[in-house]
């Protein structure tokens, strides 16, 4: 019953979806690694990005891929301003407060979206929306292939940025040693805000890549935040490579689960993995203990 002709497309489908999940999780794991908090507003901010792409398409006729030039920088600025203007001010320097502030932010943002945009499902119609490409005998929608390539390139660029630039080094330094960072003249508040901005900016990239094959509603972020959180735990909190591998694993598990159990039960595998990881390897695949 399970022959390769249906398994291969399912796996490919899972890998492409997983790469996007990984991209969303990268932002989450970056923010976690530096600020030591789970950004509960991550899903809501992805939704903001998706609406931005949608409205740029509807009112200005901007193709979602052209929006890559506009939405990610705008989301970066939004993230930077949120951290500097709201989150750090409201947190009074305590990590557990930041958690609650981001949770509150997500509720406010979602309800604003509900009020302004209604709960209708919105999509964009592009010429390539239903085109497919042949990958070794399996047909994948073009938007998914583009999303996969875009996610991989973005993740690589982010990794290079973290490894090779002074700001990337400063971000990693602040993540582990705030006092040492202050002593070499790193502006720690600025680094926090940059990390948050980059994490949210990456969501902007994900939004541009996602919308041609997906939809947007005010609640669209819920499904993604749960999956992204699972990926971050699976890969190891704060680990970049872990998030990438975890994203692909989760995507494939979801696709194969969907194939065998049906679309509605497909996500069961994800949460089974989540529970197993918490039970047997709580530090994640590539995380460090303690």
């Amino acid at each position: 019953m399970l022959n390769l002709t249906i398994l291969w497309p399912a796996i490919l489908n899972g890998v492409t979806t997983g790469a996007l999940y990984a991209l969303i999780a990268l932002g989450l794991t970056l923010i976690y690694g530096v600020l030591h908090i789970i950004n509960f507003a991550h899903g809501a901010l992805l939704m903001v990005g998706l609406y931005a792409v949608y409205f740029l398409f509807r009112f200005l006729g901007l193709d979602p891929y052209v929006s890559l030039l506009v939405v990610p920088p705008a989301m970066f600025v939004l993230g930077y301003a949120l951290q500097r203007g709201i989150i750090s001010r409201a947190a009074h320097g305590r990590d557990e407060n930041i958690l609650l502030v981001t949770l509150g932010l997500s509720i406010v943002i979602e309800n604003l979206a509900l009020m302004l945009f209604s709960s209708d499902t919105q999509t964009v119609d592009t010429a390539y929306g239903f085109a497919t490409v042949d990958v070794l005998g399996a047909f994948i929608p073009v938007p998914k292939a583009v999303a996969f390539a875009g996610a991989v390139v973005s993740a690589l660029a982010l990794w290079l940025f973290m490894a090779r630039t002074d700001l990337g080094r400063a971000i990693r330094a602040v993540a582990k040693e705030r006092k040492g960072a202050r002593l070499v003249g790193i502006d720690v508040e600025h680094v926090y805000a940059m990390s948050f901005g980059i994490g949210v900016g990456v969501l902007g990239i994900a939004a541009c890549l996602l919308l041609p094959s997906y939809y947007v509603t005010p609640q669209v972020g819920h499904g993604f935040i749960l999956i992204a959180f699972t990926i971050v735990v699976l890969g190891g909190m704060g680990s970049f490579v872990g998030a990438l591998i975890g994203g692909i694993i989760i995507g494939v598990v979801e696709a194969i689960g969907g194939l065998m159990l049906g679309e509605s039960l497909g996500q069961i595998g994800i949460f089974a993995i989540f529970i197993l990881i918490l039970l047997f390897r709580p530090q994640g695949l590539l995380g460090q203990r303690g």
Partner: protein, 233 residues
């Protein structure tokens, strides 16, 4: 070069420094001695801008130092190598040193890195190693190397020999002497009183947030009161 007068500082309701005055001339090694909890680390924190003083003044090279601003202290050339090192454990040795020139000494980073590696040949062999996986002595070298990358005018060393093997302690003090020989002014905070007074020009003794004795290193070393309380003679 450094002029501190009647400095008061603390945390919350607790006052740690209760009027500390200290001075240091260019080219000197000045020792700051005292038992644990005397306020030495708090004093360094104020100089490096990590902590805001409540009263008193710090003047460095003729200009008043802005309070509680680590970047201003660094820009003036005051570089603190803190107690406990506070290097970046997840970064490589090279990255740790490179970040030492993140703000000050940025223009000469490549040249300064070479000089630091000439000073610490052992670090040259370990450039790609994560700093957190090194021995205590090597981590201390990284911490001092990172400080030197910022082209210090005044280097503050807080307990550089703490936790090191006796052999490494000797090596550390020899190094401090060499750095001073190259013209670097050093404020040396130590509990190892013997070795410190051997290489220092002058010293101050701090007790309960106050300076209780001051003088040349030789005078301090022969002070009977000090010998009883600190030198264990």
């Amino acid at each position: 070069m450094l002029e501190v007068s009647a400095l008061r500082a603390g945390y919350g309701p607790v006052e740690i420094l209760r009027g500390v005055s200290l001075d240091l001339a260019a080219g000197e090694i000045v020792a700051l001695l005292g038992a644990n909890g005397a306020g030495k680390t708090t004093f360094n924190g104020v100089l490096a801008g990590l902590l805001r003083a409540r009263a008193g003044a710090v003047s460095f090279e003729g200009a008043a130092l802005p309070a509680g601003d680590p970047k201003a202290a660094l820009d003036a050339g005051i570089v603190l190598v803190p107690e406990g090192r506070h290097i970046f454990p997840n970064l490589t040795v090279r990255e740790n040193l490179w970040l030492g020139g993140y703000r000050r000494g940025r223009a000469n980073r490549g040249r300064n890195l070479e000089r630091v590696l000439d000073t610490f040949p052992r670090l040259r062999e370990r450039l790609g190693q994560r700093a957190g996986t090194m021995s205590g002595g090597e981590q201390q070298m990284v911490a001092i190397g990172r400080g030197l990358m910022a082209e210090p005018r005044l280097l503050i060393l807080d307990e550089p020999s703490l936790g090191l093997s006796p052999l490494m302690v000797e090596e550390m003090f020899a190094l401090i002497g060499r750095l001073n020989g190259q013209g670097l002014s050093i404020l040396l905070v130590e509990q190892n009183v013997h070795l410190t007074l051997d290489i220092a020009h002058r010293g101050f003794v701090m007790e309960n947030g106050r300076i209780t004795a001051a003088g040349t290193a030789a005078a301090l070393a022969s002070d009977p009161e000090l010998q009883r309380s600190y030198l264990g003679v």
